[in-house]
Amino acid sequence: MKKIIVSMALTIMLITASAGLAAPIDAFKGQKGTLDISGGTAHIPVMKEAAKRIMSFNPDIRITVAGGGSGVGVKQVGEGLVTIGNTGRALKKEEISKYGLVSFAFAIDGVAVVVNPANRINALTSQQVIDIYAGKIKDWKEVGGESGTINVFGREDGSGTREVFTEKAIKKGELAPSVNVVSSNGAMKTAVAQDKRAIGYVGIGYIDKSIKAPTFDGTVPSQENAANGKYKVTRNLYMNTKGQPEGLTKLFIDYIFSPEGVEITKDSGYIPLPAGK
């Protein structure tokens, strides 16, 4: 009995304390409804954490987060299947005019070339990466590694990560037909983490001990370098809505830009952008 009273008192204290501070999440008080989010896979950690916090604060709100890639994000938000469609690239003119979409850039993410941690390569130049993806360099020996065929992994058509990589890392270079294709940042990480002879690319937020990012043209692909402009292979992460967001959708987007949302973005390994950029 005593325990219950204490825990009740604690809960009340907690509630009043959080109300007193007027945390950003309070905006969701008394709200109801569902919010469906899909698209870019780089966004998922941020979206999931935000959704988790909002749903545990107010169980009347249901938020679903799905992947699919940037192309899917545009298509689904445009067709009204989801309320927020995420993209890891700026929208194309035709996409904006066709669906009437509005974009909110909330973070910067770098895309880094990655290899297996057992690979002794610690530096790659952009020219080497271009040649590897074009199929001109086929053996790790040719770039100073242990001899062995390079297993090249790329992403599917329509992936935002792939678009940044092709445009900024290999400068629209050719892709050999033998490049293996995986369909998410997570699948790329699994493929490279398992294979000693693999090369691939992921959003910097996905880099951990299981994969290694060699320096690219002498720069360490880190979020700091992406933020200060030293590392060039970067992109913005966008949330897109059909028309100006309203109600729950607007609250969610505001939450991502609030101090708490900024914290989540940072913890997920991205550099937050202020609203209205």
Partner: protein, 282 residues
């Protein structure tokens, strides 16, 4: 169809509903595929897939789909016939029961579980043991043949059961052992079912999307050795679906879908004809 008047209305209604939905789907895919062929036919039938430079070849995918489904069917079907004989008298009773139960459980395992387990178990095994990246024709084919086996074994098994029940006493009276009965009597008599189970297996093998997407590597090239990566039509549809709406790349997906539909329909018709022939002979 004899007692048409006594068929409940809801049965008729659901039959009409399902068949109209199916035909609408067929017509839709056929129309879109023809549209795609008319607008961009020649550019589709080449070997290079590079939408950024205006190359939309889907020939490597057609090749891959054919290779993968046939190779999986041949291995899967052979093992299925073997399993079925094992269950019906060639294996010890406890092992037969064990195998039959395993196969029954296998039908309930979702495809993604096979794919996921193989990424972590089979792919490294192939990569370290045989070379390549491990994501290959061989890997996908092994898993796919495993995936289509239970359906084939179970459909053969029911035929075996019926025919064995009809013939076992007669054969025993003639001095046949159970193994001899299976090999000499049951197997030839259930020919029709053995063939039609191959059709079932082929349909599943050609239509499966997840296994080739997860395990075959998806590189757009002609796979020459079993260790090469390949991209099947189904995986191709899955991967390209997320790119832009409209344009040749998008239309090519309908052509790919149309080809898949055409192949499975022709396989169906072919097997039906074969079955009829065997039926008439028997």
């Amino acid at each position: 169809m004899k007692d048409n008047k006594n068929t409940p209305i809801w049965l008729k209604a659901s039959a009409a509903y399902v068949s109209s939905l199916m035909s609408a789907l067929f017509i839709f895919i056929a129309l879109c595929a023809v549209d795609g062929l008319m607008k961009s036919g020649p550019s589709l039938f080449c070997s290079v897939w590079d939408p950024e430079r205006g190359n939309f070849g889907i020939l490597p995918m057609i090749w891959a789909s054919g290779l993968l489904s046939l190779s999986s069917l041949i291995t899967g079907w052979t093992f299925s016939v073997g399993c079925c004989c094992f269950i019906h008298g060639f294996g010890p009773r406890w092992a037969a029961r064990f195998l039959a139960n395993i196969l029954r459980i296998m039908t309930a395992v979702p495809t993604v579980v096979y794919g996921f387990a193989s990424v972590f178990l089979l792919v490294p095994l192939i990569r370290n043991g045989l070379g390549g990246s491990g994501f290959s024709w061989l890997t996908a084919s092994i898993v796919l043949s495993l995936l289509i086996m239970p359906t084939m074994v179970l459909s053969m098994d029911s035929a075996f059961k019926t025919i064995e029940a009809q013939t076992s006493i007669t054969s025993a009276a003639l001095g046949f052992t159970r193994e001899q009965n299976i090999a000499m009597v049951v197997l030839p008599a259930s020919k029709q079912w053995i063939w039609s189970s191959a059709l079932l297996g082929f349909g599943r093998a050609a239509g499966d999307t997840l296994i080739p997407t997860m395990l075959a590597g998806n590189a757009v090239q002609y796979a020459n050795t079993p260790l090469d990566a390949m991209r099947t039509l189904t995986a191709h549809i899955g991967l390209v679906l997320s790119s832009d709406v409209g344009g040749t790349a998008y239309l090519s997906l309908f052509v790919a879908g149309g080809i898949l539909l055409f192949v499975s329909i022709s396989a169906n018709i072919l097997f039906r004809l074969m079955r009829k022939k065997i039926w008439m002979q028997g």
